[in-house]
Subunit: 341 residues, 2 copies
Amino acid sequence: MESRTEIASLGEFGLIEHLTKNIEIKNASSLVGIGDDAAVIDHFGRQTVLSTDLLLEGIHFDLSYTPMKHLGYKAVVVNLSDIYAMNAIPTQILLSVGFSNRFSLEALDEFYSGVYAACEAYQVDLVGGDTSSSQKGFVISVTAIGEVAPDAFVKRNTAKETDLICVSGELGSAFLGLTLLEREKKIFQETGAQPDLEGQKHIVGRLLKPEARKDIVAYFSDEGILPTSMIDVSDGLSSDIMHICNQSKVGCVLYEDKFPFNEDAKEFAYKLQLDPTACALSGGEDYELLFTIAQSDYEKIKLNPAISIIGYTTQASEGMNLITRGGNKHALVAQGWNHVK
Amino acid sequence: MESRTEIASLGEFGLIEHLTKNIEIKNASSLVGIGDDAAVIDHFGRQTVLSTDLLLEGIHFDLSYTPMKHLGYKAVVVNLSDIYAMNAIPTQILLSVGFSNRFSLEALDEFYSGVYAACEAYQVDLVGGDTSSSQKGFVISVTAIGEVAPDAFVKRNTAKETDLICVSGELGSAFLGLTLLEREKKIFQETGAQPDLEGQKHIVGRLLKPEARKDIVAYFSDEGILPTSMIDVSDGLSSDIMHICNQSKVGCVLYEDKFPFNEDAKEFAYKLQLDPTACALSGGEDYELLFTIAQSDYEKIKLNPAISIIGYTTQASEGMNLITRGGNKHALVAQGWNHVK
């Protein structure tokens, strides 16, 4: 970085002005944005959907390999993913940031450039937030607001027996990206060798700059599909399908050979002697949509190449099971991220 | 505390279940609460008001003299105060908490008991949030949601010239409470002497367990008063009236002899050789409502003993001034809390 400006030189209000001066409101529903006690949003005839996430340095992200711009982008996207997982369209975000004096104004600008890039990509307005110093580390809190047609929201606890279980995109790649970056970090710490990320742009991108599945929710709307339940895959497929099954009081059968993988990611997994299926089940941070649909919607779903049908729901008494490529049946176990260790 | 349960023994989902199992939804608009990707709120025919605050240990609160229950209560109330400052009624909150392994489940329960007490007192629903471990310290992020009749929200930038400037309740007491607690903490650290808070319950309460002025917003509604601008006093009267004046492009005259003080607080200020007026202007954390009204509303306002008229707005060119008890005129200076030091 060429120059370093101390954030303290602006003062709190100067900082907010600096960080938010280029905001352009994109949604007519954003009546009042930054600069008052609260934001005001007009949702006449729509229902409001809200989600919030806390992201803490050293717990959720490692700045030794996470560029600030990517961090800003990802902080927004992971929250929008929760809004899409309700079958809603995100419209606004509130963003709070806490930072120690280790961070320069340039670093904060990088972070916000990522935030604004995400706002642009997903057409959401930043309408409020808070900035604060912290004693240690970078603290991020994002609240996302979305809207949905009356009662068109999709919950986790409404899957029915014999529904099809579907997932968008690919699974396990972000976990492989994390494994690679952690490995290269360790090598760097031990030997000083520069990271070798050659040919692994895809999995690193999946970790550092995930996207939320706006397209899938738009597809549902276009095709008149209302999933019977939905969640985003943030803790790993195993943990997230369990949320749906437990809350809906159904069981499930998943087919290993139906899991969607990226070919490069799969190859990299084998190179590390990791099982791609285990990465999908327990990895997390995929930010894909996992949902169930009535069998009558099968014809509509099968046309979309971004959607894989990976199993079906059963009676709760049958439990939650995986049928392996070899035809064996295994009970699923939850091994998701547990940030409360 | 009698027992100590490690939070890790519950796991993340167990913890959320533990902390939220007694929630009862109070607002019909809370369609979906905790337990899904996002909350869903019905605001048909109303506008949605949103505010968020980040509260960090060592920056915003000191656990050496702040009971966890009070902290939970205050974290909610300071956010609700922002919603009232828009002339809106809070209806829901989202709460995220990060904590290191220094904190036991019992401590977290205490914190949440304060949160639920505030939810009860203000009739708001906790509908979402996030829990996480932190590397160090206690991290709180609260987002408050409120509703307001279409276009009845009140902003900071809409005061007119020759409006009356009003403030609710009393000023400066929370700052005196902070001064007392910081002094006793220092004495304890140096000598081991137990804090002497004898007779200072009021100012300590104003700091540790503030209330938001729900009653004032209800009064506006009952009397058909629409303030021309409003803000809550969180940074000190001086800083907050400047927000109104700068954003509304008006000046102001404040009268020192009209400032509302609590008699015990004033006496304590003199004991410490502090000027109560300086405490009001620069102290902060009062969470009173500071607002302007058209002169035509004077008759309605003067009937409410909880409201003091402390000055009036002028042309911007006249600046922002204080008329002292002695009749001298001083330009106001902003000396609010600056968390970005």
